[in-house]
Amino acid sequence: MADSRSDDRPGPGPPRTGSLPEPETALEWLSAMLLVRRFEERAGESYTRAKIGGFLHLAIGEEAAVVGAVRAIRSTDWLISTYRSHGHALSRGTPPNAVMAELFGRTTGASHGRGGSMHIFDVERRFMGGWGIVGGNIPIGAGFALASSYRGDGEATLCVLGDGATNQGTFSETMNLAALWRLPVVFLVTNNRFGMGTAVERHSAVTDLVRKGEGFGVEGRRCDGMDVCDTQSAVAEAIEICRSDQRPILVEAMTYRFRGHSMADPERYRTKEQVEAWRERDPIEGFAKRLTEAGILGDDLRERLDAEAVAAVDAAVKFADSSPEPAPESLYNDVYALGGEVKGWLSTDPPGVDPGPPANGIPWEVQQ
């Protein structure tokens, strides 16, 4: 199905510009974006230096869609993202140390080294993960909103997903449930034009992704995900409507990832020209330029803010690298919430790991 609306969508052409906030706020947003960028650049380097294992998904290029969205919600709201979520955690206030240490697989990591890059978690700041199954976080995010609705506490949820995730059955199932039950949740579709190597028009019959939510009862809006101001105001408006009206809203943020899907990606599915065209709309450069033109940012200040970000990231790498690796004895911790852990029922445990009490006579206490 051709999408009649696709022509006027924000793209590498002229940006849509949200109005600037107060200077102090604007500078804080810039700093937040710089931190995400510097953090991810260093994560990428650390990955090639084999300090980080597994998959590493960078959101470089998407910082406006990340920071703008996170700055739109209250500290009492709930935030949930995907495996591409370093930026969401950092913007939410999770210390760079904890995020980097998680990437390094250390006990000081946000998830104690258990989750890695794809599964960052910080319940204290209501950053509720970091999820590796595409589409799996969508009903869970709606579940947070269900809890808020059940309790009537006025809290709301921001649930981040990718363009590719709109094809997972959980997407439509959850849109329907959220609309039917009037749940206070904003679904932010970070449309970076690709699900892995598959362009949006090759994975979605309807490329106007807001229509996908509307078919199941969720109002859709769109914002320029390369502009932190536009994203922030679109998401802020959506979250306040969803809070006051108690209903879900979907916001599609048009953005682009500058790097590969993960660290090993020859990127044969797109042209250098396309990437270059989008890079010209670098969300950090664009915002900095605007701030400079508005007389808010000078060269010195820009350098200082950047130096602060770099310093924070340097410290995070140092912290992570000198943090302890999880002890073998911790292998079985936290499989269950228990008085005494169930550590395996038989003799198949590795030597060096205390298999704990055997099946025989597990003291299983009801949690009261």
Partner: protein
């Protein structure tokens, strides 16, 4: 003591826990206006209203997912899936999410939810509505798995499951819903990981899973009455954790062990218990651990075939005789 049906005991458990804890709520297809496909939730919508008894669309994976999210924020959702067959649609939320969240996030959060669903054959519901999948869930660390076979256990285990901070896969049996049994009147909780000795005996140990615990009990009566064989019958009641101790203690007495289950043989509950028992009780075994299982086929509709596709009392008696070295019934 009251005489209750299994379904009534479950209903009582839900009601008591909902009265006790305002964070407990129910979600599921047709559990409200329709009173539940098997009437377990009868009357609860009227009593508690549609905030706490929520009819859902037919969206198994997302219903469970919403429950996971709500549980992470401290609510105690009890999700009913209409039968265990449909739970395969929610396997991703149950296994990749509910079971692993606590571990994956370093213990920062729990998922105190219960996923209730019936399984089992016997009513000619055919190959999409009759299977037993307890083995699939027993395989997964992070889950608790209950398989109550009596009204009292249905009550006590469901109440314990709702209070537990772990995700619980709570497997009922369709053919038990109308069965009656004595149920304690006061607060009744059954701890996970403690088996019930349904009948004491000295010649062989029969472990019965889910409804097969009752089949095993009846077979043990026949073995005693007709063949003078004294079988001890154990109902593990929960499969995760499993009270292997009680099984091994019984084996030490009888030196012969049989597991009876309704599900498929390969990688079933019997295989697991068989492997564990021979590992940890090898010297006590006078004969191999025997398994009586459902047939290795999708459940057929025709009565004539369905009857053959899961164990009945005759088959367990015959297997008992075989295990005792007597001529089989065949």
């Amino acid at each position: 003591m009251s005489d209750l049906r299994y379904r009534e005991a479950l209903n009582r458990a839900l009601r008591e826990e909902m009265l006790r804890d305002p964070d407990v709520f129910l979600m599921g297809e047709d559990i409200g206006v329709f009173d539940g496909a098997f009437k377990v939730t009868e009357g609860l919508l009227d009593e508690f209203g549609d905030r706490r008894v929520r009819d859902t669309p037919i969206s198994e994976n997302s219903i469970v997912g919403l429950g996971v999210g709500a549980a992470m924020l401290g609510l105690r959702p009890v999700v009913e899936l209409m039968t265990i067959n449909f739970s395969l649609l929610a396997m991703d939320q149950i296994v990749n999410h509910a079971a692993h969240i606590r571990y994956m996030f370093g213990g920062a959060v729990s998922v105190p939810m219960v996923i209730r669903m019936p399984q089992g054959a016997g009513n000619q519901l055919g190959p999409t509505h009759s299977h037993c999948f307890e083995a699939l869930y027993m395989h997964v660390p992070g889950l608790l798995v209950a398989v109550p076979s009596t009204p009292a256990d249905a009550l006590g285990l469901l109440k314990a499951a709702i209070r537990d901070d772990n995700p619980v896969v709570f497997i009922e049996h369709e053919s038990l819903y109308s069965e009656r049994g004595e149920v304690p009147d006061g607060e009744h909780l059954v701890h996970f990981g403690s088996a019930a000795i349904r009948r004491e005996g000295s010649d062989l140990t029969i472990v019965g899973i889910s409804r097969m615990a009752r089949t095993a009990e009846k077979a043990a009566e026949r073995l005693a009455d007709e063949h003078g064989i004294s079988a001890e019958v154990i109902d593990p009641r929960t499969l995760r954790p499993l009270d292997l101790d009680s099984i091994l203690a019984s084996l030490a007495k009888t030196n012969r062990c049989m597991v009876v289950e309704e599900g498929w043989p390969h990688g079933g509950i019997g295989a697991n218990i068989g492997a564990l028992v021979q590992e940890q009780g090898f010297d006590d075994l006078d004969a191999p651990v025997m398994r009586v299982t459902g047939a290795d086929v999708p459940m057929p509709y025709a009565k004539a075939l369905e009857r053959l596709a899961f164990p009945d009392v005759d088959r367990v008696v015959a297997a008992g005789l075989e295990l005792m070295g007597r001529t089989t019934a065949a």
